[in-house]
């Protein structure tokens, strides 16, 4: 504002000088203004024309650039910013989703592993059980077979022994019968007994 005040002083000085002498050209009047102002150099002079031009050029430029440049550029920048922000958000969401899925996957995997372990454990147990049961039943079968075989043998032996006794008795009776029938000397008897024994043993 001080510059404006200085400028106003200048304008007065200039006006005074131009009143005294009719201005021929601008440069001359500027020179007069300079000389009238004394201490202030010409580049500090107040020039209302420049004020008007500056203001007009700026306003026109503002209107033109606003329509031509700023609006499209800013709209485009904002659009791009939005796209970038959306992309980033989406990326973050996807990352979170991936993390969640990975966690879930790991959980499922762990559960499956655990289940498999349990299954293996239980099947191993079942197999062991089965093996033991089979072994036991085989043992029992064996014992049973052995027992039955032993009984069979025993009964066969007993039958055989009874048969033998019976046969021996019959033979003894037959031998006694023949001995009595022949009633011979001792020598003859002995020969006969030997003969009979032979016969018996042949039977």
């Amino acid at each position: 504002m001080s510059s404006e005040l200085n400028g106003l002083q200048y304008a007065d000085a200039e006006a005074a000088s131009s009143q005294a002498e009719a201005p021929a050209t601008h440069t001359e009047s500027a020179a007069e203004g300079h000389s009238a102002a004394g201490s202030l150099p010409p580049f500090l002079q107040f020039d209302p024309g420049v004020w008007i031009w500056t203001f007009s050029v700026f306003v026109v430029l503002l209107i033109i650039l606003r329509k031509m440049a700023w609006k499209p550029i800013i709209a485009s920048i904002e659009e791009r910013d939005k796209t970038i922000k959306n992309s980033l958000d989406q990326a973050a969401r996807i990352q979170e989703e991936t993390k969640r899925l990975t966690e879930e996957q790991n959980k499922i995997l762990a559960a499956a592993r655990h289940e498999a372990n349990a299954l293996m454990q239980s099947s191993r147990q079942a197999a062991e059980e089965l093996r033991r049961k089979l072994e036991q039943s085989a043992q029992e079968e064996k014992a049973r077979i052995i027992a039955s075989a032993t009984a069979e043998i025993e009964s066969s032996k007993r039958t055989a022994m009874a048969e033998l006794k019976k046969t021996t008795a019959e033979l003894s009776i037959k031998i006694a019968e023949k001995l009595i029938k022949s009633n011979l000397d001792e020598a003859k008897s002995r020969a006969l007994v030997d003969q009979l024994i032979n016969e018996v043993s042949k039977n």
Partner: protein, 282 residues
């Protein structure tokens, strides 16, 4: 290469010697005029004079021409840079411009105005930033001059900012609320007698500082460059170029930085003032 530079400097010195002295030379080059002399030895471009509207001389001056060139440049650049494919600029220029646009939005406007008001205010601050940037940068092309180094130009822009942030505050908060909001509440009335003028002055100083900062920075930079070049006049020989040329180049590169910096600062402070007027509670 060196020979070329030297011959250029000699040509330039030939032109410079026509001036009366270093002071005249400097003043001439940073002052506004009704002619533009972009190429040495070719005749100057005389701008029309005598356009008087309502008693005000509105004939275009050199700095007004610079504004036209900057505005035309911006319109052409953005006509190319705005073209896009799949929400991305289709040219490298477009990418570069978009980077600046995003920078202004995210680092300058949004932190000061808040997310809600940014959409409405962004075009204003973008135009401000790019207009200053274009003017600052074209002023570094040899033959061009700095309209941002003209106190009338910076004064207009500062006045515009002053009116903008006050009107924005009045429209947003209502005139009564806005003006009472300028002063701290709960202060005893005798102190208010001191505080009210201080705050009102502060309001005006903000805008005045904007005006002076840009003007002073741009003018100082150009004076520095011209002073180094003007050593030819002081020493009356082009051979001093051996010493000052690297120095001038260095300052010139700093001026490129300053061109960006000053456009940024002006826009940043404007956004800050508008933001303060809109959100008085802070």
């Amino acid at each position: 290469m060196l020979k070329k530079i030297f011959s250029a400097v000699l040509l330039l010195s030939g032109m410079l010697n026509a001036e009366e002295g270093l002071g005249e030379f400097l003043t001439h080059h940073i002052s506004n005029s009704h002619e533009w002399h972009p190429v040495p030895f070719l005749p100057a471009l005389h701008l029309p004079t005598g356009w008087i509207i309502g008693g005000i001389d509105v004939s275009p001056t050199q700095h007004v021409l610079m504004m036209f060139i900057a505005a035309a440049l911006l319109i052409i650049l953005f006509a190319i840079g705005t073209r896009r494919k799949n929400n991305a600029p289709s040219s490298k220029l477009g990418h570069a411009l978009e980077a600046l646009v995003i920078y202004v939005r995210d680092e300058v406007v949004e932190p000061n105005l808040g997310k809600k008001d940014t959409a409405a205010w962004l075009p204003f601050f973008l135009t401000l930033f790019f207009f200053f940037l274009a003017l600052n940068l074209i002023s570094l092309i040899p033959g061009f001059s700095a309209a941002t180094g003209n106190v009338n130009f910076t004064g207009t822009m500062a006045l515009l900012i002053f009116l903008t942030f006050n009107l924005a505050g009045i429209i947003k908060n209502g005139p009564v609320h806005y003006f009472t909001g300028l002063f701290p509440s709960g202060v005893p009335w005798p102190i208010m007698i001191i505080i009210v003028p201080i705050e009102l002055m502060g309001l005006i100083t903000k805008a005045a500082a904007l005006c002076i900062r840009l003007f002073a920075n741009m003018t100082a930079g150009h004076i520095l460059l011209l002073s180094l070049t003007g050593l030819i006049i002081v020493f009356k020989t082009a051979w001093v170029a051996i010493g000052f040329l690297p120095m001038t180049l260095f300052i010139y590169l700093i001026e490129v930085l300053v061109a960006f910096l000053q456009a940024y600062i002006f826009t940043l402070l404007s956004a800050l003032f508008v933001g303060m007027a809109l959100h008085q509670e802070h």
